[in-house]
């Protein structure tokens, strides 16, 4: 901890000394995500991009580095901090039935995903491996397959379990014919997430492996339900996503919202964890000048990090969906400029 020492001295050489200690938050890692898990190397090249988000389904046979994604290994070995979002959600492509496969000489059979999530009325509800399936050990093969591939990467990553639990549960979930409310789903998810983290933590993991659980962070009661101290003690980061979707949204307000809930509602273990923003973005429909909004992010993060509570450690821009940069060149230039300023340097 840095220390400043003040000494006063009179003419006879008598002195008095006082000290004041302080903490410096490390530079925030500016990060990125490119739509479709596409190769972001060109977009990141030459800029101060030090962090990256990727999405994979546990159902996928190719999690690390992912099908046809050798660039992820290159980026990770060059020091980019990778946040791997590993989801129980089945992405819908390919066979959603049971799987039998061999990992390091051990054969596993995993049943078909038995849960539906994101049950928004009028939409097709995505399938996911169920929390009961996880807790019953039926998905251990999926974790073993992911871990085996992860060990070949040559660097540690943050494993973020689930993308957004609140988005997954907002309209309830159903597993094996039984319906669960949002609140019930949160409680079940905490048990399943705890199971998965514990499953990984007792294995030999690459150095610098960390864990977090993903939420959108848009609902205060859900945020509190999904962050019990018992689970947070197994995790290394707080995590949520930040979007500006109204002309009235300021960077300070949007990044502050969930942090304020955390400070008010969570326990000391949770609050000791830094914040990993897996996605942040500015929706061009409501905020046409994305670049101007992006330019307000560094001072907002600096200010929030100077306040009490957990600090923002990584912020990964989501160049997809709501955050799509349009025009891309202008938005990317703004992002590069933002990440070239404190608190990113």
């Amino acid at each position: 901890m840095p220390r400043v020492t003040v000494t006063v001295r009179d003419s006879t050489g008598q002195t008095a000394t006082a000290v004041a200690n302080y903490t410096l938050v490390p530079p925030v890692l500016g990060g990125y995500y490119l739509s479709g898990n596409a190769d972001p190397t060109a977009d990141m090249s030459g800029g101060n991009f030090r962090s990256l988000t990727q999405y994979r389904s546990f159902a996928d046979g190719n999690i690390f580095p992912g099908y046809n994604r050798p660039w992820l290994v290159t980026l990770g070995r060059s020091g980019v901090q990778v946040n791997m979002v590993l989801e129980l959600k089945h992405y819908g492509a390919g066979d959603a039935g049971p799987q039998t496969f061999t990992v390091d000489g051990v054969s596993y059979t995993v049943p078909a995903p038995a849960m539906t999530i994101q049950q928004r009325p009028g939409t097709v509800w995505p399938k996911a491996y169920g929390y009961s399936q996880v807790i019953a050990g039926q998905c251990d093969g999926l974790f073993a397959r992911a871990l085996s591939q992860y060990r070949t990467m040559g660097f540690g990553v943050n494993i973020q379990l689930a993308s957004e639990l609140d988005t997954d549960h907002e309209f309830g979930t159903t597993e094996a014919g039984k319906a669960y409310t949002w609140a019930e789903s949160d409680v079940r998810a905490v048990q399943a997430m705890t199971y998965i983290v514990n499953w990984f933590r007792v294995k030999a993991l690459p150095q610098n492996t960390t864990f977090s659980v993903g939420v959108g962070g848009f609902d205060r009661p859900s945020f509190q339900r999904t962050h019990p101290e018992s689970l947070m003690s197994r995790l290394d980061f707080l995590q949520w996503n930040v979007y500006a979707t109204s002309p009235s949204h300021t960077a300070l307000d949007r990044f502050r919202r969930t942090k304020d809930w955390a400070v008010a509602d969570l326990g000391p273990v949770a609050l000791s964890r830094p914040i990993l923003v897996a996605e942040w973005g500015v929706r061009v429909a409501e905020i046409p000048d994305q670049a101007a909004w992006i330019a307000t992010v560094p001072p907002a993060i600096a200010r929030l990090n100077a306040e009490r509570g957990p600090y923002f450690a990584r912020t990964n821009y989501f160049n997809s969906g709501w955050g799509t940069l349009s025009p891309k060149a202008t938005g990317l230039a703004a992002l590069r400029a933002a990440y070239a300023r404190p608190p990113y340097v």
């Binding site: 400043v4 003040v6 006063v8 009179d10 600096a302 600090y311």
Partner: protein
């Protein structure tokens, strides 16, 4: 001779890169006195000038600020009892 006294406080416990840091120093010494010298000149006829006054501080304190992370602290103000220094995190 009495010993001087000093306290130091920062305006925050944690700083983000680039943030302004302010250090407030309260200090004093019982021996530090302000002495006022009044001078009157009188000529041979007994005519005196108006008194002229000058103040002098006896045994003023010197302040040294050091930082073990080699941060440079710059004096913003100092009124003899309270000094404020500034640095960039």
């Amino acid at each position: 001779m009495a010993s001087p006294t000093v306290t130091a406080s920062l305006n925050a416990a944690t700083y983000a890169p680039g943030a302004q840091m302010l250090l407030t120093i309260n200090y004093g010494d019982p021996d530090t006195k302000t002495l006022t010298v009044t001078v009157v000149v009188t000529d041979a006829q007994g005519n005196s000038s108006a008194p002229a006054k000058v103040s002098a501080v006896i045994d003023p304190l010197t302040i040294t600020v050091t930082d073990d992370s080699r941060r440079t602290w710059t004096r913003v103000s100092d009124n003899g009892a309270v000094a404020v220094y500034r640095a960039v995190a």
